[in-house]
Symmetry: D2
Subunit: 451 residues, 4 copies
């Protein structure tokens, strides 16, 4: 099989089909011109490294890439994307569809790969046993089953392109319910055992509201000898106990994380700002680290310290806040300029958002993602539109300056966040195994209405 | 294989896996209670009719269903959904990925089926040969290849559930360029030949801006003997030559369409309004028809007669206009109350939008869609959320009255539409085979800037 | 006393003071240049006609002016302006301060005169005896007292410049309570008697929601032999019984009005649209009339047929809707282009709004208003601002294209109007003399909350 | 003449007229009930102290009042209010109409008095000679003439009620142009000489962007022996050289100011926040002071450190930002709760805004303002409205929770501020006597467009 620059578009295609496809492609040269890439650059550079089922000797690890100054593009968030596709339930947010609907999870992995992602995170968010049982959820699948299935899917797709597999853990209901360090660490250990069995390429501890729990996670993951990245889900105001981004980062680096950053909870610009503060903290402390950011694809200028969870629109009314692809160009540039080299996304990111990040950084990365075959640079595809006034939108300055309307004149532009000003340690946040009862719900409804 | 109500969730699962799954389900009873369905109703009623690879004798045709007063749920739009996933190029909007990336098209079909759709439209939008060559597009795949691949995919997934396959044609660049009736009809005939070979269940002529072209299409499709549905992409102001929705509908019924309606170009409420006008026109003329509506999933209160194409945000800045699932509940109810029984979606619809339509009409249809296993009624899944103030959002009145903020305080809520006030017959709209040249583009840019 | 073009700035000034003043003026020439007026034009043309206490022979009547094609500028609304200054009570909206606080009423007249108004409307809105007693209002001043005081004030200020006095009547609670034609006409007659005694220059019947009542008013006023103008407070949807603007206008002209138009209830563009429809109706009927418009200074794109009364913001939350002076330029031009020659304002108009109308039409009128000595053309005064980036705003294209922000990100841009869909003839609208009781209020509050 | 609580409504009225008026008043008792004032309270307490032309022995000074814990209500801003009325020119913003149009200035004083103001600030903003000559302004009136006329008007109206006269100075173009301390102080001294000659009750140094210049002003005013108040026009970010509100306040108190605070440039909540920071600074330094606040009546959440000057809407497009009276209730309460006792307004404040402040604090002050005779508490006047659905708005919770729409769907809710990041000391800010030339303007326009 000839490893053309295009056959990763769809590895199932025969060589004949690939050749057919190539005939109608714009061709490398034309594509390069379209995107204004520098001479000598090819679109294939980062894409055709290997096709083996296992990580080949030629596939560089995460730290090798970052140490070499490469830009590493992350994938987008799975729970929100799969909720919209019908495979994740909002509320528990657990990833059992890795077992029950592997074709849906595999397809989403593929779309992110095609969009330019270099990292396939295992779909193991909230896949700890304590979470799988939280609040009356009655999953009969074990955490081990789900984690294993998720690792297999991530590996399968990672091997279709130049991507690494990252095993992921996140905050636990046990910590929120004030369980001991030993108990919480045991939960992380259980997931780590699967990741090691499945031989993931590196590890990510992410979505932590409290740095203490993140440190515990890092320490557990660190025992594996694999590279460890750690992300808080905080903004510039710091963690839920008010610990600043800078201090959080220092503590995570000291705990053993080689890569630190933030994910989720805030929009791109806010997250980049928080990571900048982390970087300043780490540098001020005389330490070294790589930096990553995987923000929301929702505009959240009105969030308080706990992020988009507290917005009244969370999670079923966030549509008007979704970022456009052009917002993503600004985000990618801002993150790059801040010295962040692991740049991905979290909740709300669809494949086209990741593609926009990859297109903005095409020159820096020396390649375009496969999915750019279906995307003109800065709207160039509109040159083929039927209506001339739409063809007139085929230019960068049009999209760069557009202020998109909401079409919702009865809605405000910002909201006041909810939230009761409590965090771990408060009885309001103790978790229970049984379902929330009607009486408990009534109390919640009344409490909210009176605010 | 036991035909449980749940095994269509994923037909690839073994019976054992299905049983496992069933154990963690809420169960029919609980689900029915959750959705407030009337007694005696079961969630399986519409779902487990047959599992054959060909349309079984027991699968009712589109007219049988509509004649029986059933609600038929359509799918959502493919070109926009697949553009975001990386498989369709905005501008030409052609469906060649039916050939090149069948797994992506198949997955989207499956998600709509799972969300409750009873119709799988073949992914053949703009799959006519004249469109495949328009404005320098250099596809080497023929229309026949694409149409055939699309039929196969639709049939494959339709047979996984209770869905029919509808072969679809739409308006052509030839008509816009003032080609003759014979020439335009020949284009439709070529697609019809594929549909007949692949034995689709019925036919849809959709997305017509001019009723004359729609009539031509209906007349061609009518020769097949299969049921024909016809949709204009117009609003209450009528077609591009000012012909009212009522008159358009009468002409389409007279041309042979058994089902008439509108699709695309406007938001749900506007489309329902236009279909109401169609219904009034048809009834006033003493004719009979069934009615369908497949609107955008974008709020477009600021559109002029040509719909969302003319909005400055089309097509890359429409995010803030995306409807929430709760908007879809209102749409489904409004459409049903207007006497429309074929209710689906077009551009912007994601699977969860179709699921919301199916959930709103669960009582009328006597069943819930498979994807509702992952969705609490009116936010009920939030009862399992970690934070108590988010659990307090697990209620209908919360989501029904929410006015979601855009998070974009620098953006307006409405836009002024573009558009040059021209339509078919004007030289501005003549299409060309070769790509738009730089000079032509410059003229367009300048013309727009001066407006 | 020398009648310089400037001494009407303040007729109380001595000649010496005037001379002093003149020295620091920009001077006619400079002012003309500033406003780009054509050569030969002088700023004094329309301003120094007479200074007598009575209407001099040289002061042309309203019909003479309109017949000659002149633009006549009206004043702004008094009840809203004086409510903000502390002299009118929102709710009853009655003009007793003409008696109790003449200095405040006089000053407002003067400001409108200075801003360019050619008409001083007597401050007699809702000054009919039935209104003065409505709903428990306990005024001991008689309608005659108020009407007389108002006439004196209007005359006093009119004589300080080139303005006419217009005696005004408006709709009555009696009509709303289904009193007889005789009774309602008697109310108008009582006000007319004062206007005749005080020898106003012409008469205006304005603010009628029902054309029938407006006809009755015109017929009463017509008996005086003075010119009669008649304004409905309607939009393009017509009066409260659905009678179209065209038909309303025809009926008013047939009743004897020489000038017809609309005032209040809608924003400028909507009002101009309604007057255009009146003009078309009158011309279609083969009749002749002059046209006037005195709209709100509030943006009301979201109004239903009853206008801004039904907006949730009426009357104490309308601030974000206030028109800028630049909006007024567009209004004045639109009204002029529509063939309307009597152009003024109603509720919300402040003196600077009228000045903007006068400045937009300076070339057509051949003069600038006195208040333009304190206003650079299209922001030219900013050339003298301290900060250079503010000086950069001293240009027309800046202000003409500015989309002013509300500074209210938690507020929507449009509202849903209230209103119970009832009008004259419905018991909900019967008026009572006694104050609304607490029980009655409670019923209203509950009824509204349940909607 | 009987000093009834009401005759200051209009001191020109005869006793008979006053009696007549009183008959239609609601009466003290009813008014008290309406506003829910505590028993024993009378509406007359603060209003009938004296009617003499000079400050009577019984009229308490500003410090006596504040030391006694009384709430002192300031007036609103004159330059913006009179700009709208046609007597001040935006750009130079100078107060020459104190000489040329005394009746307009007097009337505005009266309206603020009637609205509840206890302080009449002399209309002497920018009345220093260097400002009167700035940028080609060609006033032939001297600073002394204007300052004297302004003092006379303030005194005349102050003596009609319970108000004090405050002589005011503000920042100078000389300071901005880097003149010496001696030169700048000489400018303040010249205005002070007039204030002493006219025997004002106390002095206010206000609208300073740089604390150094404010200190100079305080030191000059302090030589008079009169009480001195000092206001910066800064927000929480401090002065233009980044000196914090707390440090500014300490320096002003040390320079001799007995009252410190902020005025202008920011909306009420921002200003209150800045004054709180001043208070904290002063208390931390072990010093003592009274506090005042006179904010804008415009919402400015989007301002940067230089305040509303830098908003693109300044000064001719600020309408959508105007505060409602209900916003003022919240402001007054917030300021009171922050320990501020001198509470007034600046640009944008109209008399009804000051009335709202006085009504919110009616219980604390023990009296209602005269203008409340024309204002129902929290919309109570609407009980008399013709339409029942408008009567339903006669209640506090309606207005308190209303989110008023802008009626401007094409406009954003927030703006990005202008500003070149320069302040005193930068050549961009050097002032010149001659008018800005066309060439200079062109440079400014181009510079702005390129940003």
């Amino acid at each position: 099989m000839k490893h053309s620059p295009w056959n990763w578009i769809n590895p199932e295609l025969t060589e004949l089909q690939t050749t057919t496809l190539l005939k109608y492609k714009a061709g490398e040269e034309q594509l390069s011109a379209l995107f204004g890439l520098k001479k000598g650059f090819t679109v294939t550079k980062c894409c055709n490294r290997n096709w083996e089922k296992e990580m080949a000797p030629g596939k560089k690890g995460i730290l090798e890439r970052l140490n070499a100054g490469e830009v590493v593009i992350g994938d987008g968030g799975f729970v929100f994307a799969l909720e919209k596709r019908g495979y994740v339930k909002a509320g528990p947010w657990t990833p059992e569809s890795a077992v029950t609907h592997p074709e849906a999870v595999r397809q989403l992995h593929r779309e992110f790969l095609r969009a330019g992602a270099n990292v396939m995170q295992t779909f193991t968010f909230y896949a700890s046993d304590d979470k799988l049982e939280n609040r009356g959820q009655n999953l009969k699948l074990t955490g081990v089953q789900i984690n294993e299935a998720a690792c297999d899917l991530a590996r399968e797709v990672a091997n279709e392109g130049d991507a690494l597999v990252a095993g992921g853990v996140c905050q636990t209901p046990s910590y929120l319910s004030c369980k001991s360090e030993t108990e919480v660490k045991a939960i992380f250990k259980k997931q780590l055992d699967v990741f090691l069995k499945k031989n993931v390429d590196f590890l990510i501890a992410e979505y932590f509201e409290h740095v203490e729990e993140a440190e515990w996670a890092v320490k557990v993951l660190k025992t594996s000898g694999k590279p460890v990245a750690a992300c808080m889900c905080i903004g510039p105001d710091g963690d839920m106990h008010g610990i600043s981004p800078g201090e959080c980062a220092v503590r995570l680096v000291k705990a053993g994380a080689q890569i630190v950053g933030v994910n989720c909870h805030f929009d791109p610009m806010t997250c980049v700002k928080a990571v900048k503060m982390m970087k300043e903290g780490v540098e001020k402390a005389g330490l070294k680290a790589h930096y990553m950011v995987q923000p929301l694809a929702y505009h959240t200028p009105d969030c308080s310290c706990q992020g988009f969870i507290d917005l009244p629109e969370f999670p079923f009314g966030l549509e008007p806040r979704i970022l456009t692809r052009w917002d993503m160009h600004k985000y990618a540039r801002e993150a790059f300029n801040a010295g962040i080299r692991f740049i991905g996304g979290c909740c709300g990111f669809e494949p086209y958002h990741i593609r926009a990040v990859a297109e903005e950084l095409a020159t820096e990365r020396g390649c375009l993602p496969a999915a750019s075959e279906k995307h003109g640079n800065w709207g160039a595809g509109l040159e083929m539109h039927t209506k001339p006034w739409v063809r007139a939108r085929a230019r960068r300055d049009y999209w760069e300056t557009l202020k998109p309307a909401s079409g919702r004149p009865l809605c405000p532009s910002l909201s006041l966040p909810d939230g009761w000003g409590v965090t771990k340690g408060h009885t309001d946040l103790l978790q229970q195994k049984e379902a929330t009862s009607k009486d408990q719900l009534k109390q919640l409804f009344d409490r909210t209405k009176n605010q």
